[in-house]
Amino acid sequence: MQKALHHEGAASVRTRPKQRRSGLLLTILLHVVLIVFSVVMVAPFLWMLVSSFESTEQAFSIPPTWIPDPIMWENYPQSLQALPFHLAYWNSTLVAVTVTLCQLITCSLAGYAFARLRFPGRDIIFFLFLATLMIPFQLTIIPIFLTMKELNLLDNLLSLILPPSLFSAFGVFLMRQFIMGLPTELEEAAIIDGASRWAIFWRVIFPLLKAPLSALGIFAFLSQWNDFFRPLIMLNSSENFTVPLLLNQFRGQYATEWTLVMAGSVIAIVPVLIVYLLAQRYVIQGIAMTGLKA
């Protein structure tokens, strides 16, 4: 009975050429809208790239010219010399990579303990982790800043590295949820074989965590690399600056030389853009998975 209805319904849909034509029209319309928005999304980046190769006069011309003539290659060496971009790259990489690696290890360890081990106070402590997820960072940043000041860590990259390396409630939560969903048979076999908990974690569990680890890793790396507020308050000297902070300084110092500032912006974003283009599937999966957080 149901099957018959289904067939009838399917047939009535399929035999309507008018609707199919309207479907094609709709598809074209949708693409037009999507392309218009694509232009809106890409044009600012394109203009950044184009004007970074233009002379000041050309970049300010009315109407704007989209093809640099002559191509001002020298904008790039000039920007690179103006401020220590190589140091900023090193600083940003150091911060982002250290934090990411630490989070991957500490969060998966804690996530495993909360998911599988039994110890007194486990559920209360896990609940505390969940509760801290709701605290906006502006609330805790003043005492953290003052702590760093007491520890003499201001203007030191450790002030950026330490807090997120040791604490990510979101990472712990993500790992715990994922490990809870894993079957227990593998571990049980290892326990019978007399393996220690550390061996079980490292040899059995950790290799199974590729999906949540890549999601957490990408999220941690991007948020550390792009962070602006914490470097802004913690760092003072430009040799310690991260890339966003240096770009901000560049903009301040060369406020009128926009072509140089744009070359600096290109230098600042090209590495992340390349990583993104190469790993976009993982980036987007990671963000969709971590969207819970933001």
């Binding site: 849909v13 004007s51 805790t140 040791l166």
Partner: protein
């Protein structure tokens, strides 16, 4: 249930003592959580308690700490700056959240129905990846009133005199909202697409069998089943918009005058520019309470419009 069972098992063990194997498990449990536990205590619980204590004091970070009761809060509520910051922030949020979510929802629906979804998504997501400083620097030139691309285009193509996007007090918050929407679009689209993919195909089949047209299917099936995602993105967007800082700092520095002076900018200004840690903490506490109330209200209201499956 799981938690209760666990609790009972622990109580049971405490009565009859721990076996060697269980002791080991307890040891490893604490060892594994130790780094994160220390991190939480030092970088979340301790600062959380401190900020509430600090908000009741006056301290410049050097001299003595003076306990002043609720004086900081009274000062904030009677002074101008908090009122200004709150008004600017609310204005920004009211523009950014509905418009941003509406555009993202429409584009996600379009993307869900065409080929080449991942290509478009790649482009829409770029500003999220490049970070807010680069976005701010690029847009500060695009929106520059004398030399910026947008005003130059308006003049060159349409012979219209441009406006002071970032320098005119009437336009500064809408301009910031525009950049904020532009930057957040990809993120919202990714969440909406995940939500759309989460709708079981059987619902669409059922609608087709019932002879529903596209419009009916959207209105009666897609939209109701997407309400949990819409709710979730709304909560996140409100929180994010309320915390806007990077864009205002880069694009306008809170100006012109105090026309884009937002809440987090106020905290930054008090705490990190003028070392008034007590007042800054008080504003941080106020911001936290506002966000909490807003989120609670949204959770209350969701019963009226969010449909959870089953």
């Amino acid at each position: 249930m799981d938690v209760q069972l666990h609790g009972k098992a622990v109580a049971e063990k405490q009565r009859r003592g721990w076996s060697q194997k269980e002791k080991k498990e307890v040891f490893w449990g604490y060892t594994f959580i130790l780094p994160q536990l220390i991190g939480m205590l030092v970088f979340s619980i301790f600062p959380l308690i401190s900020v509430f204590v600090l908000s009741l004091t006056q301290w410049d970070g050097l001299g003595d700490i003076h306990f002043v009761g609720f004086q900081n809060f009274i000062d904030q509520f009677t002074g101008d700056d908090l009122r200004i910051a709150l008004a600017r922030t609310v204005y920004y949020t009211v523009l950014t959240v509905p418009i941003g979510l509406f555009i993202a929802l429409m584009l996600s629906l379009a993307l869900n129905n065409v080929r080449g979804k991942s290509f478009y998504r790649l482009l829409y997501f770029m500003p999220y990846v490049t970070g807010s400083v680069a976005v701010g620097v690029i847009w500060s030139w695009l929106l520059n009133s004398d030399l910026g691309l947008i005003n130059n285009l308006l003049k060159g193509w349409f012979h219209i005199d441009g406006i002071g996007w970032l320098t005119d007090s009437r336009y500064v918050i809408p301009s910031l909202a525009m950049v904020g929407i532009w930057q957040g679009l990809g993120f919202n689209i990714v969440l909406f697409l995940a939500g759309l993919q989460g709708i079981p195909q059987t619902y669409f089949e059922a609608a087709r069998i019932d002879g529903a047209n596209r419009f009916q299917t959207f209105w009666r099936v897609t939209l109701p089943l997407l309400t949990p995602t819409i709710f979730f993105t709304t909560v996140i967007s409100v929180i994010n918009s309320f915390q806007v800082f990077d864009l205002t700092f880069i694009l306008t520095d809170g100006g012109p005058g105090k026309d884009s002076y937002t809440m987090v900018y106020h905290i930054y200004n008090l705490g990190f520019k003028s070392s008034q840690y007590g007042s800054a903490s008080a504003v941080a506490v106020i911001l936290f309470l506002i966000l909490m109330v807003l989120t609670l209200i949204q959770f209350r209201l969701q019963r009226r419009w969010v449909h959870y499956e089953m």
